[in-house]
Every structure is written in C-alpha cells, then in structure tokens.
Amino acid sequence: MSLVKIAGLHKHFGSNHVLKGIDLEIAEGEVVAIIGRSGSGKSTLLRTINGLESIDDGEIVVDGATLHAGDKDLRPLRLKVGMVFQQFNLFPHLTAGENVMLAPTVVKKTPRAEAMEIARKMMAKVGLAEKFDSYPDQLSGGQQQRVAIARALAMNPRVLLCDEITSALDPELVNEVLSVVKQLAAEGMTLVMVTHEMRFAREVGDKLVFMYQGRVHEAGPPRELFANPQTEELASFVGSIN
C-alpha cells in the first residue's frame, strides 16, 4: 500500500496547462527526488500535495486524506504533509523555538509544556538545540532552513515535501541542511524533494522522477536513470547538469 497516491492529476494556471496528468505512488519511507528543467511543474506538483494549489482534475491521497478538484477543507491533508520552502519562511517575530512550537499549540492544541518539549527535541534533531531562543534574523541561512525543517517535523507529518531547500543557500551552507535530510531519510521519513543536487539525489534517493513539460517523463531508481536514461530529454538534462 502506498502512502501517497497521485492519480490523473491536472492543474492549469489560466490557459497554461501546467500538470498534464500526473500518476505517482510513493511508499512509506521512500525518498523521492524530483528533477527537471525550470518551469516543468515540479513546484506546482509539490504544492498540490498539501493543498497550496488547487487541482483541476484527478486525485491525491495521503495516508487516507484525500484531495479532489474543488475541495475546501484542506486541514486533514495538511496534517499529514509537512513542507519546507526554498526561502525558509520562518516567522520573523518569533524565536526559533516559538516557530517550532506554534503549530502544535495552535493547531493541535498541544499543552505548552509538551509543545516546548517537542520543539526542543526537534531543534536538537536538526542540531540547533542551543539556538532555541534566537530570532530568525540572528541565524544563518542554513540554520534558518534547519529550523524550518524542525518546524515542519514538530507536526509529525507522514511525508515531508522539500522544494529546492538548498537553492537559496550559500554553497558552504548546503551540506549542513542536506545532512539533516539524509539523517531523516535514514530514520525512515518519507521524503519528496525537488532538488538540483544530483549527487544527493543519487545517493539518498530511492526513486528519481524526471518531470518534463508537466508530465512524469521518466521515473525509477536514481542510479539506473542516471546511468541509462531512456529518453533523449532526460539524457540531455543530465548532460546539461554534469
């Protein structure tokens, strides 16, 4: 049984047909890396999985929570899905710890003391226990992104979506974020990452998804796909990256 099941997914922005029938299944604990050229629909696909974008046709099921065209109540889905953004998007008026505590207290009504404990655990997990009381603008980009991961994890999601989470970082800060992700993967977290880090995708990914013009053009084990692309488009994309 797959944890995430996407079937016949279509999405338009006005007359721009951005997702043209996506079918994708993700098993529990699987690490999926999504690659593809800019504008191929990677972010849009990720954003539909937690209801940040509405869908026009098809179905998304995450651990029993469903999304169809026209659905208004997105809460059940969002409770199952965490997301980390390229630009971190920490709440600037709250400390790192408060950022992590906010959703558990507000959404899940977790008692403060318990939420604090969860937050401390998550901050320790991303290696930032000592930054609990720092404000976002007192942290480096890499640290902010790790807090953003801790914030998503504090809601105990079944799957974590990461949209180019190292793209806004200085090169020397990329690894500290990737190593957190690697550790999550090793702990069995289900991950869907849009990434340009091909080496990372190859090392950590269980499945590689190549998006091309709004479709899943090729999918399979990363090593096989990189070594032996079945389509010209993937071959040329891999060529252009390396």
Partner: protein
C-alpha cells in the same frame, strides 16, 4: 505701550487646566484603544474582502477621511438626537474619536496586513493553520509592528484634534482654556500655557506609545 505679561490669573485655574488635560488624555486613550480595535476589524474585512463588510468599511473610510472632524462630531451630538439617539457630550466625543480613528487605522493597519510576505502565509497554511489562526499568530504582530509609527502619529493627531470637542462642551483641555480666557481676559497667557500643555501631552504620548510598541507589538529585545 508694551503688553504686560500676567500669568497669575491662568495659574490660579491650574486645577481646571489639569482636569482638562486629564480629560483630553482619557478621551484619547479610550478613543485610541477602541479606534485601533475597530481599525483591526476593518482592516481584516478589507484585506480579506469579506463581503459585504469590506464594501461597508470602504465606504465608511472614504466618508470619514473626506469630511471634517468637527462636522462628524456635530452630526453625532446634534444630528443623531433627531433620530432618537441621544448621548452626553463625553459619550459623543468618545464616539466621534473612535469613528474617526477607526477609519484612519483601518487603512493604516490594512497596509500592514497586505504587506505580509506570501511565503509567511504559505508556511502557516502548510502547518495546517486556519486563516484566523494565521492572522492572529503570524500576520497581526508583524503588521502592527510595521505600521506602529504611523498609528502612533495618527493617535496624536486625534488627540490634538480632540480640541474641537470643546465645541459641544466636553470639558477637555481646550474647553478649560476657553473658560479661563473668558474669565481672565488673558488670551495670550492662557493659550500659551495651553499650547505648552498640548505639546507636553503629545511628546509624552508619543514616548508612551513607542515604548508600548516595543514591549507589546515588537515583543522582543531590540
């Protein structure tokens, strides 16, 4: 012949001036708390386009911003009784100030709300926070923080504008000054002292509001 300054007749009524200044402050504080509260509600309706309230608040803001405060006050105090709505001069003055400040702060706070970066809203949504939860915990404080200096200035403008409440015999500072002037015939001295008091009140109020902003709105050590 040179004018002989004579402040004694003014200071003989120091108690009236003090009481008037107290009234002005009380009027301003009440008006500010309720007016900013009204402004937050108005700003939410406008920013979220909650029909029909966004339209109602839009019309309200336009009417208030394009008419004189004195006329608004007269309308409430002299006009409304014709419809059977009667109130004392204190209530009328407070109501006029709330309505006036409410309109300006609706626009000021709305500007703060719509300046919220989209990424903040998306992060909150991805954490399964509802729109109301997002507003309360993510949007409101940074929005108020951004516009707090503008709100502070508006509160001071309203405090200075409250002088016209003397026209309906609200016993605030200007009312006291007019009374003292009419008894002492010392216009220069009376209004000189009154001006100084308004100035001091405005400076004081600005300091207090900025301190409040740092403490409650910004809410973090600088």
């Amino acid at each position: 012949m040179a004018y002989q300054f004579e402040f004694t007749p003014v200071f003989e009524h120091a108690d009236l001036l003090l009481k008037g200044a107290g009234f002005t402050l009380a009027l301003t504080v009440t008006g500010a708390v309720l007016g900013i509260g009204l402004g937050i509600v108005g700003a939410i309706c406008r920013a979220w386009q909650l029909k029909p309230f966004n339209w109602l608040f839009g019309a309200y803001v336009e009417v208030i911003r394009n008419t004189p405060f004195l006329v608004q006050l007269f309308f409430i105090f002299f006009g409304l009784p014709s419809l059977g709505v009667k109130m004392g001069e204190w209530e009328a003055a407070v109501l006029a100030m709330v309505i006036n400040l409410g309109a300006y702060s609706t626009e000021i706070i709305r500007a703060g709300i719509i300046a919220t970066p989209r990424g903040q809203l998306e992060a909150a949504a991805s954490l399964a926070m509802s729109r109301a939860e997002t507003f309360r915990h993510v949007v409101l404080r940074p929005a108020l923080q951004k516009v707090w200096p503008a709100l502070t200035s508006q509160v001071i403008i309203v405090m200075l504008g409250s002088a016209v409440c003397s026209q309906i015999a609200t016993e605030e500072l200007t009312f006291a000054a007019n009374f003292i002037q009419s008894r002492s015939f010392r216009a220069f001295e009376t209004y000189f002292v009154t001006t100084a008091i308004y100035f001091a009140l405005a400076v004081l109020l600005r300091q207090v509001l900025m301190a409040l902003g740092r403490r409650f709105v910004i809410g973090r050590p600088a």
